[in-house]
């Protein structure tokens, strides 16, 4: 069995309550930092752990913390990003639902390290049940003396609040999230200044994903060096992977980074293979924004080496033959799925979620949606395929925030790897409406698992 750090006690009845969480060793990390460590000591441990942001960007958390400006007399804020909306990703929902106290504990540890006395957990509004769960967990922690004034007699004060979003994917972008938390539309800010200098209410602010903040708990308990022993190269520790689409056992799995992709898909410990005895056609490995790969390229790199669940291995080959670990939203497509239809669906999503600030994204996503709709419904032409590539190229890198890139990459990669399927839609318009293209040459080289 693989080592678990966040979901160790997930099966213990009542682990969502303070009492049971505490019995299982919960809040030890808070005791440790408040009684025997300085904020800089905590920062050092997080740096040593090699933890990288679990929301998708993979930026080293310790380094992000070290950028935080500390002017005298100005409050600093920690804001947790729980606006989980990346298609394919549902790990933060799982964590907040079943083991909310690990997030609360991580918030206390991280706030102490950053010198924040008021911290917010921004949760997407649709997760109202999870908001209630977190509010209850906060009340329990407060009653037990882990929140409020002078926590455990250390002199450290912390107030923690949950903020609901209003339904907007863009608020997962950290500056859009801060705008939203200030009660405005979720329009991303132009950077610099970065939030570390001027964030919430123009004060120095760190924004971290739910899973990143939770990961500080095992890092403090076991030490950063222990954490860094798990994984490969610069991909240290464990990662929550949301497995969805056509796998036999969809769900959230905590893996040690470095697990072979093939094992993740086919082992009974994880996805258990493809559902209904079908074969694997393609995978989106890190949430809808990352490039889609055909089965042969997700299982092995272009060099023929086994593909591993690490930031580096998934990116091997660049965008020509690789992809990204992203947020760990792992979507598997079986042989019956239509890549064109899915690309159209994803593009409609990005068009719907574009905040409208930058014209390449606002207009480009709309154009891509229209052209893809046309191709999917059998009215496309060959030049439409090139037009899509062209529009995607003109969005990429030309917007304030990464939503533009996130909208461009799925389209560009689908055409890169599945061009024949797009062309088949053009040449077989009527047929394309009644049946799917199938597996073609990019099939899974393994025998189907029945």
């Amino acid at each position: 069995m693989a080592r678990k750090l966040l979901l160790t006690h997930i099966d213990v009845p009542g682990i969502n309550t303070f009492e049971v969480y505490r019995q299982k060793g919960g809040y030890r990390a808070v005791e440790k930092v408040l009684k025997s460590m300085s904020p800089d000591d905590v920062l050092e441990e997080v740096k040593k752990s090699g933890l990288r942001g679990r929301g998708g960007a993979g930026f080293p958390t310790g380094m992000k913390w070290s950028f935080l400006a500390k002017p005298e007399g100005v409050p600093r804020y920690l804001v947790c990003n729980g606006d989980e909306s990346e298609p394919g990703t549902f790990k933060d929902r799982y964590l907040m639902t079943h083991i909310p106290h690990v997030l609360i504990e991580g918030m206390i540890v991280s706030s102490f390290a950053l010198g924040a006395n008021t911290s917010y957990i921004y949760v997407r509004g649709e997760m109202m049940p999870q908001i209630r769960i977190l509010e209850k967990a906060i009340a329990e922690a407060r009653n037990a003396g882990f929140l409020g004034k002078n926590i455990l007699g250390s002199g450290f004060d912390l107030e923690l609040f949950v903020q609901p979003g209003g339904g907007a994917y863009i608020c997962g972008e950290e500056t859009a999230l801060l705008e939203s938390l200030e009660g405005k539309r979720g329009n991303p800010r132009i950077k610099p200044p970065f939030p570390a200098v001027s964030g919430l209410y123009n004060c120095p602010t760190v924004v971290n994903n739910v899973e990143s903040i939770a990961a500080t708990v095992p890092i403090i308990n076991d030490g950063g060096e222990e954490y860094a022993k798990i994984g490969i190269e610069r991909s240290t520790g464990t990662k929550l992977i949301s497995a969805g689409g056509n796998v036999k056992k969809p769900g959230v799995y905590e893996i040690e980074l470095g697990l072979p992709v093939e094992e993740f898909i086919y082992s009974d410990e994880y996805c258990g293979g493809i559902a209904n005895g079908k074969r694997l056609k393609a995978v989106v490995a890190g949430g809808s924004s990352v490039p889609i790969l055909p089965a042969n390229l997700i299982l092995k790199t272009a060099k023929g080496e086994p593909r591993l669940m690490t930031y580096e291995s998934l990116a091997d080959g660049g965008f020509q033959t690789g992809t990204m670990l992203g947020s760990g939203g792992f979507i598997a497509f079986d042989e019956d799925q239509c890549i064109v239809r899915n690309t159209w669906n994803f593009t409609r999503f990005y068009h719907h979620e574009s905040c409208g600030q930058c014209s390449p994204c606002r207009e480009g996503t709309g154009w891509m949606e229209k052209v893809l709709h046309k191709i999917e419904h059998g009215h496309g032409s060959f030049s439409d395929i090139d037009l899509l590539v062209n529009v995607a190229k003109n969005i990429e890198g030309n917007t304030i925030c990464p939503l533009g890139d996130a909208a461009a990459w799925p389209v560009a990669s689908a055409i890169r790897h599945f061009r024949d399927e797009f062309e088949w839609h053009v040449t077989n318009g009527t047929e394309a409406r009644t049946r799917n293209y199938g597996l073609a040459h990019y099939a899974d080289p393994l025998e189907p698992v029945v």
Partner: protein, 175 residues
């Protein structure tokens, strides 16, 4: 689009006002605008949707210009600017849910309820719409019902039938 009915009078109950006061205290002095989204959720839960007079009243409470409230309410998809059915069923329509049958479920809902996306049934009980990724991709197809955003997972035609029956009974019982 904003729905303007100037003759509608809106009253916030004492219970709502004390909840509002509690929410405003979460933010630093002078930053009460941060309470806007939480307050709009409270107001929508109480009235079912956000009318212009209701939004104006929120603006007054938070000492904002009304436009600051409208621009927020029109940006976020969870805020309803028109009345909906008492039970507004929101089905996730994004990629991963579609791989496991979300489009079929939406079509079924449309036939079953006899209303198109966004419309309200004649008895005022139901409306439905497709929404973007609800971060529940492992349990699809899924739908949610506000204001508590109760979640229904792994939907089939049969489970949708059961759900609609339950909601009808609930409405008859006066809940």
């Amino acid at each position: 689009m904003l729905s303007v009915k100037h003759n509608q009078s809106v009253t916030f109950t004492d219970e709502m006002l004390s909840k509002f006061a509690e929410i405003v205290k979460r933010y630093p002095e002078g930053r009460q605008k941060s309470a806007l989204l939480p307050l709009l959720h409270e107001v929508q839960a109480a009235f079912g949707w956000l009318s212009v007079p209701a939004m104006d009243k929120v603006a007054e409470y938070l000492q904002l210009e009304p436009i600051e409230v409208y621009e927020v309410a029109t940006f976020y998809t969870m805020f309803f600017l028109q009345p909906r059915g008492r039970y507004n069923l929101e089905v996730c329509r994004t990629g991963p849910c579609c791989l496991v049958g979300a489009e079929r479920i939406m079509k079924y809902l449309e036939e079953k309820l006899g209303v198109k996306e966004g419309e309200v049934t004649a008895d005022g009980l139901f409306s439905w719409r497709g929404v973007e990724c609800l971060a529940a991709c492992g349990y699809g197809p899924v739908l949610q019902i506000g204001p508590e955003y109760t979640f229904y997972e792994n939907l089939t035609e049969e489970s949708v039938d059961q759900l609609i029956d339950q909601l009808k009974e609930k409405a008859l019982a006066g809940n």
